[in-house]
């Protein structure tokens, strides 16, 4: 019997028992769906985080509060070696870093939580937001695109101009549109929406913002701590894992320092001229800032070191997902094997008939083996299709992070289904093949 005939018989066998096949396939479908989706989540999360980190640029370094301890090999241990201490970084440190040779730009970053208000009296709307004091370089360095209006200028920064650029959620919230921010409701407002509606809004943030009306706060005034500020721009939504500018209210650093009364920065982003000078800039910036500090209570970290730390985290995530996937595959494989063993038992008489008609042990084995294999491959393809649909739906509706379906995950799913079919198809096939035909024919 040719292999093709074996496949044909297996196909006929499956077709003849299609209801059972459908149930049996369910396990494989779920298994393959998990392979695809979990691989996509793992890659998607990694890609998003890497993009965020990578967005800093290879020529950028970060000055952060606290001292990052070194590992035994002398490397900075960003995962477990980061000490938690209050920030002592100041705007003066940033200015000192600016003087370092081969430094292209220095972007200080001051952050605090504040309440922003638009309108007055009954029309007033208040929202909690993240106040960010920074320089005119912010939008370039943070890749924060403007949806409308403009960013503040260097002159406005130096003159402590009372201007702000709003994150998309804050802007929409103040206009009374649905937003993803955890807005504080002012008294007299309608009761909060049910959780599922809020969740849906959060998941479909991109859509909601795409549907926003023409109304805008650009050119109008808002109040922060009873001080009036002019809205000059609105940032595009960039809901993402980890950091997002959607809930930010960005103002010039000098204005922020004066209005908040804060002195310490959350971070300073230093940009070198080129990647060739990065190591030199790294040590020079460290030395320059040290002139203002008694102790080393800050750290200078290169993008490369952050990516390394991130890689470690995502590798752990991937290992965990691989574990879940393998478990799902084993469970689906065992399910298939159970169904096939049952099928062999139920079809004992059929096996006897086939043998009486001249089927050899090998031919019977091949038929049942191919049946399991076909079942798994079909299940795998269906799981792959559903997984692909899920990813497409996710990417069209959810903007927190994108799912990425790499070719290797597709191959992995197909090879896994083949592997599961092969591994778990052998036992039922052998069971069928070893049957004594005369006994099988008498089976009731």
């Amino acid at each position: 019997m040719k292999l093709l005939t074996g496949f044909k018989l297996a196909w006929l066998g499956l077709w003849a028992n299609r209801l059972r096949v459908l149930f049996a396939m369910f396990g494989v479908v779920i298994g393959m769906f998990s392979v695809i989706v979990l691989a996509s989540i793992s890659i998607g999360v990694k890609d998003t985080l890497l993009k965020q980190m990578g967005g800093l640029g290879a020529e950028q370094i970060l000055v952060i509060p606290g001292r990052v301890l070194d590992t035994m090999s002398g490397q900075k241990d960003l995962l477990s070696g980061l000490t938690s201490v209050p920030s002592t970084l100041t705007y003066e440190d940033a200015k000192e870093a600016e003087k370092v040779e081969n430094v292209r730009s220095v972007t200080p970053h001051l952050e605090t939580v504040t309440t922003i208000q638009s309108g007055e009296g009954k029309e007033a709307k208040k929202l909690q937001s993240v106040l960010v004091g920074t320089t005119d370089q912010y939008s370039r360095v943070q890749h924060a695109e403007l949806a409308e209006g403009r960013f503040f200028t260097k002159k406005e920064q130096e003159t402590k101009a009372k201007v702000v650029v709003l994150g998309s959620n804050i802007h929409d919230g103040l206009l009374g549109k649905e937003s993803t921010s955890e807005a504080t409701q002012t008294p007299g407002h309608p009761a909060p929406e049910p959780w599922w509606k809020r969740l849906f809004s959060a998941l479909t943030a991109q859509k909601a913002s795409a549907q926003k009306q023409e109304a805008s706060l650009v050119g109008k005034e808002v109040a922060i701590n009873n001080e009036k500020y002019k809205v000059i721009g609105v940032l595009s939504p960039n809901a993402a894992l980890g950091s997002s500018t959607d809930n930010n209210v960005v103002m010039p650093i000098n204005t922020a320092l004066q209005e908040t009364g804060m002195k310490n920065l959350n971070k300073i982003i230093v940009e070198a001229d080129s990647t060739e000078t990065i190591d030199q800039v790294d040590s020079d910036v460290f030395a320059a800032i040290k002139t203002h500090h008694k102790d080393i209570d800050y750290s200078v970290v290169k993008q490369e070191q952050m990516l390394e730390a991130l890689n470690k985290v995502t590798t752990i995530l991937q290992a965990m997902l691989a574990g879940i996937t393998v478990t799902a595959l084993i469970i689906s494989g065992t399910g298939i094997m159970n169904v096939m063993v049952m099928s062999v038992r139920e079809r004992t008489r059929e096996i006897g008939i086939r043998k009486a008609l001249g089927a050899t042990t090998f031919e019977v084995m091949l038929q049942f083996f191919f049946e399991t294999l076909l079942l798994c491959v079909l299940g795998g393809l269906i799981g792959l299709g559903i997984g692909y649909l899920f990813i497409e739906l996710w990417n069209h509706n959810i903007s927190v992070f994108s799912l990425v379906l790499p070719l290797w995950a597709v191959k992995l799913a197909l090879y896994s289904s083949l592997g599961v079919g092969t591994l778990f198809g052998i036992y039922p096939a052998l069971k069928a093949a070893r049957m004594n035909p005369s006994k099988a024919l008498r089976f009731e």
Partner: protein
Amino acid sequence: MIELRNVQKLYRSGGEKLPILRGVNLHVEKGEYVAIMGKSGSGKSTLLNLLGTLDVLDSGEYELAGQAVHRMGKGKRAALRNEKIGFVFQQFQLIPNMSVYQNVLLPLTYGQKRWSGKRAKVLHLLKEVGLFHKRNQKPSRLSGGEKQRVAIARALVNEPDLILADEPTGSLDEETTENVLQLMEQVHADGATVIMITHDLEVAKRAERILLLKNGMLKEMANEAAYGI
């Protein structure tokens, strides 16, 4: 065609081995029509299973068409079954979820022989047994007689030298029995060797020779009294 020499077959029950065939000898010429009779539990079906190479003998020798079956492995026995033997069972033994056409086609799927015009061959046989119009139906939609005619068509599709029929009329009414027996006689007339197991003397009388299996031994039946009727 068939030569059995001192064949023994043991029946295993609870660790004990009981002889069911004790030194059976049988010689059947090519083209003969033989009926084997015997009471329930006399070993008729066991003997048929041995003749059909579905089971192996515990001792003795078996030659079929000049080939020593007792020395063959499973693979060769399966090939021999496919090429030389056609089975007709009392319970028809059709695969329920396959159509009439697919059931008859099945023997041509196995074995080494390359068949040309398989479809035409199957359809021709179905016409011969009067079931061409029911070729796409499942066995569950057929009457007992129709099922047996499908089984006969399946037994003939690979042009076997030997037809082994195990109580082929056991589940049929009188009229259908007559139809099936006529078909068997036709098969025999076309040159096939037919061995039929039955406990019905009237059915057995249609054969050229009647053998009686009693106490694990096979003997020519001289008269009806020998069967104990």
